[in-house]
């Protein structure tokens, strides 16, 4: 399939292009964050080989992540950072086909480069991350535990777009 037909499919599926070019980070920047390698923060695009040399890593996400690492005091496992619209589409399509998802998430904040998923092995771990982010000066949007039991999803979307019960 040609790249133009892919673009058309993604456009039709509602995966709009992201226009925050100033925060696109190249893979040559080997240290976008002191604790996480570029290959960790862009792991999904690398896995799907979709422009693996570029990732949208917004400064709000990077500083929030650093705050969590400092507060936790141990190494943490980032399970997802940036996802390009194409990769998000591919992940959603595969999960819908497998019967795991009902609908795709074209508006996922991972596509905007301001979201991160951190592995939380249990609710104690999830709560620990929650307390840390709660003390952060910055507003943050947290998916509740009962909606994401195996990971801690936090993002720094515009506040008005954060569902009321996700606001910390």
């Amino acid at each position: 399939m040609t790249s133009s037909s892919w673009s058309m499919r993604i456009w039709k599926a509602g995966y709009l292009p992201v226009c925050f070019a100033s925060e696109f980070v190249p893979s040559s920047n080997t240290n976008p964050d002191p604790d996480f390698a570029y290959s960790t923060l862009n792991q999904d695009d690398i896995e799907y080989n979709d422009y693996p040399d570029w990732a949208l890593l917004r400064s709000s996400m990077l500083s929030g992540l650093e705050y969590i690492v400092a507060g936790y005091g141990e190494s943490i496992s980032v399970t997802s950072g940036y996802r390009s619209p194409y990769v998000q589409h591919e992940i959603d399509t595969a999960n819908i086909a497998a019967g795991k998802y009902k609908i795709p998430s074209p508006h996922s904040r991972h596509v905007h480069g301001d979201a991160v998923d951190i592995r939380a092995r249990d609710q104690n771990t999830w709560n620990t991350f929650h307390y840390i982010v709660r003390d952060l000066d910055q507003q943050a949007c947290i998916e509740p535990y009962h909606k994401a039991v195996d990971h801690f999803h936090v993002d720094w979307r515009p506040w008005s777009q954060c569902p009321p019960t996700w606001r910390k």
Binding site: H107, S108, D122, N124, H146, K147, T165
Partner: protein, 247 residues
């Protein structure tokens, strides 16, 4: 070039005009029908349009449809990566909570089953507590944990509106939750007691603080129970001082 531009302008204006020409009533009827669709994406899109239309939200037919919609979504399984769907259900429960009649047990129970609105439920404890107790039956550990936490908050806020038997039943439920082997039940219960619990919870919390066998996060459950005891004692002494000052 000029011809192309002219065609583009005409096409856009025709589109805008045809949208304006749509009868708002038939448009709303279509959206209400979409809310009953088997396709979650269609339901979500219809809800998004209605949620941003204040006149639609005043329509009793829209209100009834949104309550039914939340009731339906409450029964759908949810997977953690479904970010847009998870956000949609949160917006939906928030919207429905602003529309319902809080004296209607069915409507309150629909909101209580959504897990998203502990504050609103606590404000209407008299009806909500019964819904929450009902919800515990046959629920998963995660749901039990959230529900017991909401019960603790609701009883704290609505004590005066609840009868002694109901309060006693909630108290028993909380004690059982503290002894649950699953941390998804215990952790939210302890957290809720820390924020809203009374001194009657201290003996049970003390047992957890001293003997809980779960070692995860450096025995976080024990630590959390100790903190809950200290917070409850501090709150009780502040309340005591406050009431002494008032006398």
């Amino acid at each position: 070039m000029r011809i192309m531009l002219a065609v583009l302008v005409i096409a856009c204006s025709t589109n805008v005009l045809s949208q304006q020409a749509l009868d708002p009533q038939s448009n709303r009827a279509e959206l209400l029908s979409d809310l009953r669709s088997g396709d979650a994406q269609v339901r979500m899109d219809a809800f998004d349009k209605l949620r941003n239309d204040p006149s639609a939200l005043r329509d009793p037919a829209v209100k009834a449809s949104l309550i039914n919609l939340l009731d339906r979504e409450n029964k759908e399984p949810i997977f953690g990566e479904e970010e847009d769907y998870a956000a949609y259900t949160s917006w939906l429960s928030d919207t429905v909570a602003k529309l319902i009649d809080w004296s209607d047990p069915h409507e309150v129970c629909v909101v209580a089953n959504s897990s998203d609105l502990p504050d609103a439920l606590a404000d209407h404890a008299k009806t909500a507590v019964h819904c929450l107790l009902q919800r515990l039956k046959g629920a998963s550990a995660t749901t039990r944990g959230i529900t017991v936490a909401m019960l603790v908050q609701a009883v704290d806020k609505g004590k005066s509106s609840l009868d002694a038997d109901t309060i006693q039943l909630v108290h028993q439920t909380v004690l059982i939750a503290l002894q649950d082997s699953n941390q998804n039940v215990k952790v939210p219960t302890i957290e809720a007691l820390k924020q809203y619990g009374g001194q009657d919870a201290i003996p049970a919390l003390r047992v957890v603080a001293e003997k809980d066998p779960d070692p995860s996060e450096h025995y976080a459950i024990r630590k959390s129970a100790s903190e809950a005891i200290a917070t409850i004692q501090k709150r009780a002494s502040q309340n005591h001082t406050k009431s002494a000052d008032q006398q």
